[in-house]
Amino acid sequence: MRVWLTLVRRELAGYFVSWTGYTVIAAVAFLFGLSFYILLNQLNLSESDQPLTEMFYDSLSFFMWMILLLASPLITMRTFAHEKFTGTFETLMTTPVSDLQVVLAKFFGSFFFYLVLWSPLVGCLFIVRHFSNDPTAIDPGTLGSTLLGIGLLGALYMALGCFASSLTRSQIIAAMIALVLGVSLYLLSFLSYAMAGQTGWMMKIFNHVSLVEQMRDFARGVVDIRPVVLYLSLTVLFLFLTLKSVQSRRWK
């Protein structure tokens, strides 16, 4: 555990001693600023009875997904690929650290960084509440479920990115693999839109993997246990694949 914490701290520090971390944070903060501006404009135009988080998600789901889809490969691409490229992976794996500890440390390191990335959102929402003079504009429940959704989606995309990074020595290839896998997962939602009105088992499956709709539920304050289980199990699956990929050097 102590060793694991040392590793996580090192992972997090890795984002902040190089320019990667700051660049990603700056880019995301810029996008937040833009979306926040649009949100304020909308609030000025008309009244709404939607929770603020849902409004944010509804009108700006484009931003939210763009940040998630684009930033997560950038966050995770260095985890394994960079260490393999510089060779420090070898020094790491010859210390008495288990493969699982390394995988979990890389995952949580990027996950914590992801959470840092989203923290301005909370600030934005509180600013809106302050100036709208309406304490009910944000209630802790909807805010909590929104953050839960963002966190769970983040965990899934971080695990997916770590897996992509463990496959290669090149950060660019890692980012591309993560981007393709991530976008494919996202696009599954649109299959359910395209097939709207149909019935049958395919429709049922696609409804269950519609990330866009599920995230809307979270933003609305609805915590359905099914997507929670889906995200958690997919996260575990990708972490398991990452572990196997790390161990593959033993039988290659």
Partner: protein, 315 residues
């Protein structure tokens, strides 16, 4: 300290290590010598538990590298080829991080880091960023890392590659200072390195041990068919005549040197030393003699001879 029995590592298509067997006793400094691709790095990676062997066993400090990998890792300090480091970290932070990874506690790791910083002459640069240090200093950081948890066995893969002569000397001195306290296994394809630092040499070729002895014994082995270089002032044709008729001399090569002298490289028949004879010859004929040396066979010759057995040595 190290016990390797019948170790084989197969990569797709070829064997990097082929039925290797050797032992290293505690306190020895052993050099693995071999051309690129002889399997040096593979052996070190197996011993440091980075990857397992295809067959055979290897034990380090009494622990099996495959089944007791964590214990083995606690007992070895490993510096891989090209000495990979986190270049963006500061020297002290890096060593502290590594010491913690190896399971040292907070206070203990600080204490050890201070010790190795001193030991490797890094105290002055402990706050510098590793990437900005010279290669020599970076190499010392790698060495300090390998030492930080007081391992019994230190494995160094080409520790002096890419350094300038002064840096090489400094790193070699550091390695020599480890003798006695630690067992050291180092690999290199630079011959003087083993001559200077190691107490034993294993010459590897295509994954097998071709020779296993002290550097001095290996040299002795080779010097039996000694070569003699001499400079004599005498008419060329007379010299040719004399050498041609001397039964002890296998072959010779004459070339003009400074002044009236002629430089003669003589290869004597195996097991013979012709120096005395040459001295007598020049004295009898009243020729002037200004050099008479038996060229000691360096490890280099041994290396070339052993690893390229079908080619006549061109020395």
């Amino acid at each position: 300290m190290i016990e390797v029995v019948n170790l084989t590592k197969r990569y797709a298509g070829h064997r990097a290590v082929n039925g290797l067997t050797f032992r290293v006793a505690p306190g020895e400094i052993v050099g693995l010598l071999g051309p690129n691709g002889a399997g040096k790095t593979t052996i070190m990676r197996i011993l440091s538990c980075y990857m397992p062997a295809t067959s055979g066993t290897a034990r380090v400090a009494g622990f099996d590298v495959f089944t007791e990998a964590d214990e083995v890792r606690r007992h070895i300090g490993y510096m891989p080829e090209h000495n990979p480091l986190h270049r963006e970290m500061r020297v002290r932070d890096y060593l502290k991080f590594r010491a913690r990874l190896k399971g040292l506690g907070h206070g203990r790791s600080r204490e050890r880091v201070d010790t190795v910083l001193e030991q490797c002459g890094l105290a002055d640069v402990s706050k510098r960023v590793i990437g900005q240090l010279s290669k020599g200093y970076q190499q010392r950081v790698g060495l300090a890392d390998a030492l930080s948890h007081e391992p019994e066995l230190i494995i160094l893969d080409e520790p002096t590659a890419g350094l300038d002569p002064n840096q090489i000397r400094a790193v070699r001195q550091l390695i020599k200072d480890l003798a006695g306290k630690h067992t050291v296994l180092l690999s290199t394809h630079i011959l003087p390195e083993v001559e200077v630092t190691c107490s034993r040499v294993l010459i590897l070729h295509e994954g097998r041990v071709l020779a296993d002895d002290t550097p001095r014994n290996l040299e002795k082995l080779m010097s039996k068919s000694g070569r003699v270089v001499t400079e004599i002032a005498a008419p060329l044709h007379e010299l040719e005549d004399v050498f041609e008729h001397a039964v002890e001399i296998d072959s010779f090569d004459l070339s003009p040197a400074e002044g009236d002298y002629i430089r003669c490289s003589l290869t004597a028949r195996p097991g013979l030393d012709v120096r005395e004879q040459i001295f007598r010859m020049t004295r009898d004929r009243d020729w002037k003699l200004r050099e008479l040396t038996r060229s000691a066979h360096s490890l280099e010759d041994i290396f070339v001879r052993i690893t390229r057995p079908n080619q006549e040595d061109e020395v």
